[in-house]
């Protein structure tokens, strides 16, 4: 089977993965792009969502409730990062690292010490053995369900950003002074932002575990890089002066990222080389972005 054929066959599953990880990317979009807060905790929050959702699912709980549980867990993790940064005045980078390190142990506790949890074939998940999945055609049900979920989250987020609080959140990342002038506590707003973002990250982890029917303790490694790459690829490629297409851009960025990896696998690139490819991709896009901008948003034209 030639390379092109193999690649084309792999596209649907890459898109599916991209959509699921796209939700993670939306969370990172909130912290990195909107709040300007480099949240390193996502490497811990992503598997947290996965393990909570899986542990609940293995106890027979409804898959959607499991995902809500995952989101709650992520929200708590985001709260921790926020409190450490705002109340204890620890630097943003370190706050995230502290939470990520702590979550490593907590995740293993939740999984009862197991680094691998598998979900049986006949279990009811968001992707299998439920009314919707049985209704859709077998080969594409997974992809369609992923698409539905990703779009749902995207639209929810769009609606959020059209609210007053959503606007305040954007203001916090842009100019904290304005938030204080608005008689609002910028620290609290930041904490809320972290809560929302991390609940999305955890949701993504939970969905992935239901889709692949397993939780693996190291699944969080590299999620920050993946999320950042998706955000940067998406927002750089899909800029618009008139409307804000950011949420859609981020989802597409995640899909493109996954497609790049698939291409690399199909071409037979060694996995070790793929990390280098990621780095070069990052460098290329960030380089283009910086050359285009050439300015600092804190200064004003005379």
């Amino acid at each position: 089977m030639d390379i092109l054929q193999a690649f084309i066959n792999s596209v649907p599953s890459s898109i599916e993965q991209g959509l699921i990880y796209g939700i993670l990317a939306l969370g990172i979009y909130i912290t990195y792009s909107i709040l300007d807060f480099p949240d390193l905790s996502v490497d811990g929050t992503f598997p947290l969502g996965g393990v909570v959702s899986t542990a609940m699912l293995l106890r027979g709980i409804n898959p959607i409730i499991c995902l809500l549980g995952a989101m709650l867990a992520g929200a708590l993790a985001g709260l921790a990062t926020g409190l450490i940064n705002v109340k204890l005045k620890v630097r943003d980078l370190f706050s995230g690292v502290i939470v990520m390190t702590g979550l490593y142990s907590i995740n293993l506790r939740i999984s009862d010490g197991n680094s691998l949890l598998t979900i049986p074939r006949n279990a009811v998940t968001l992707f299998r053995n439920n009314a919707l999945a049985d209704f859709l055609p077998a080969g594409t049900s997974s992809l369609i369900i992923s698409l539905v979920i990703a779009l749902f989250i995207k639209l929810l987020l769009d609606a959020f950003f059209s609210t007053r609080f959503g606007l305040l959140l954007r203001a916090t990342g842009d100019n904290e002074q304005v938030v204080t002038s608005l008689a609002r506590d910028k620290g609290n707003v930041k904490i809320w932002g972290l809560v929302i973002a991390n609940s999305l990250v955890a949701l993504s982890g939970g969905i992935l575990c239901q889709q692949q029917r397993l939780f693996e303790a190291s699944m969080g490694t590299g999620t920050l890089v993946l999320g950042l790459a998706s955000v940067i690829i998406g927002t750089t490629l899909f800029r618009s002066a008139n409307r804000d297409y950011s949420t859609l851009a981020v989802l597409i960025g995640a899909i493109i990222y996954k497609l790049c990896y698939t291409l690399a696998i199909v071409l037979g690139l060694k996995p070790g080389d793929m990390k280098l490819v990621t780095a070069l991709l990052f460098l290329g896009i960030l380089g283009i972005e910086s050359l285009k901008k050439g300015g600092n948003k804190k200064h004003v034209r005379a």
Binding site: M1, A6, N9, S10, S13, S14, Q17, Y104, S105, L108, G113, N114, S115, L116, T118, I119, P120, R121, Q212, R213, L214, E216, A217, S218, M219, T221, G222, T223, L226, K258, Y261, T262, I265, V266, G268, K270, P271, G272, M274
Partner: protein, 320 residues
């Protein structure tokens, strides 16, 4: 007339049989989870095993090898890619890879796994040991009891046995538990130290060394990677370190009752050959491989003044 019909039937039968068994080229994928001596040996053994049954690379099979480099996300994409390429069979090496392949393929491609310590915990077999889906393979368990017997034979006086493993490697925790159960039978008290990643090992070793008379290695990916760090300090303190497989003894452990991973791979290759010849993977029960060999490092044994009893020496393979 009757002769004709008979002749035609024979011809058709021959055509059918030759078509079914003499496929031009089988396409096989090998998905390895991590870069690791034992896993590499599995892969080599697998390819050898296939060859012994007449399936030779570039003759009648093409093999594609992918390594996930311990990255679960990459492992998942490799599984997706293999599914999209529609291989005839996939060999998955190590538990996480076996699990993700089995779940991704959903019986569309048979999975023959290698080096999975606990197939039922990985969802590959049920509690009764029956395969789930078109999945089968080989399972490796550490010959802990044999190791304890051997250690006692080499160190008649030793009391405290030190173990180190990485939090999060489930296999390691299982092995440590088995040690804790069996060790007292041979007069050992087990002392356990845990680390959460490789960089902590250098710091944790002195503490462990001070509390024990000897150390034994479990099959922990991280600790095995940092074995030289452990050996450096143990040698300085004259504490013997027993390995869990041959590579470690070559590196400087005094001895090991080790699994032969090439042999494990070969057994896996045997099963794969059966599947290629038409058997249903589900109907081939998975094999737990227990044959272990004794490997010894005579130079290290001499350095630490340990005498090897004759019975052990007779069956040992000297690797230095």
């Amino acid at each position: 007339m009757k002769k004709y019909r008979f002749f035609v039937v024979i011809l058709v039968l021959i055509a059918v049989i030759t078509n079914v068994s003499a496929k031009e080229n089988y396409r096989i994928g090998i998905a390895q989870f991590a870069v690791h001596g034992s896993l590499d040996n599995c892969r080599e053994g697998f390819i050898e095993g296939l060859a012994e049954h007449g399936f030779v690379e570039d003759k009648n099979i093409t093999i594609e090898v992918q390594n996930a480099q311990s990255d679960m996300g990459l492992a998942s994409q490799i599984a997706d890619s293999f599914l999209a390429t529609n291989y005839d069979l996939v060999c998955a090496i190590a538990t996480p890879m076996a699990a993700i392949c089995a779940n991704t393929f959903d019986d569309k491609i048979p999975v023959i796994y290698c080096a999975v310590s606990d197939p039922s915990a990985a969802g590959l077999a049920d509690e009764n040991g029956k395969n789930i889906g078109k999945v089968t393979g080989t399972s490796d368990t550490l010959p802990i009891e044999d190791q304890l017997i051997m250690m006692r034979a080499l160190l008649p006086e030793a009391k405290n046995l030190g173990l180190m493993y990485t939090v999060g490697e489930a296999n390691s925790a299982v092995q440590v538990k088995m040690y804790e159960e069996l060790a007292p039978k041979y007069g050992f008290d087990v002392v356990v130290t845990t680390v959460s990643n490789g960089s902590e090992i250098a710091l944790a070793v002195p503490g462990l060394i001070s509390k024990c008379d000897c150390i034994s290695m479990v099959l922990d990916n991280t600790v095995v990677q940092y074995l030289d760090v452990l050996l450096e300090q143990a040698d300085a303190a004259k504490i013997p370190v027993f390995g869990s497989e041959v590579e470690q003894v070559i590196l400087g452990c005094v001895a090991a009752e080790g699994l032969d991973y090439i042999a494990l791979g070969k057994h896996t290759g045997d099963m794969a050959a059966m599947v290629l010849k038409g058997e249903d993977a589900n109907s081939i029960p998975y094999k737990v491989i227990l044959d272990n060999k004794l490997y010894i490092n005579t130079a290290k044994l001499e350095e630490l003044n340990i005498t090897v009893p004759k019975e052990l020496l007779q069956r040992a393979t000297i690797v230095d």
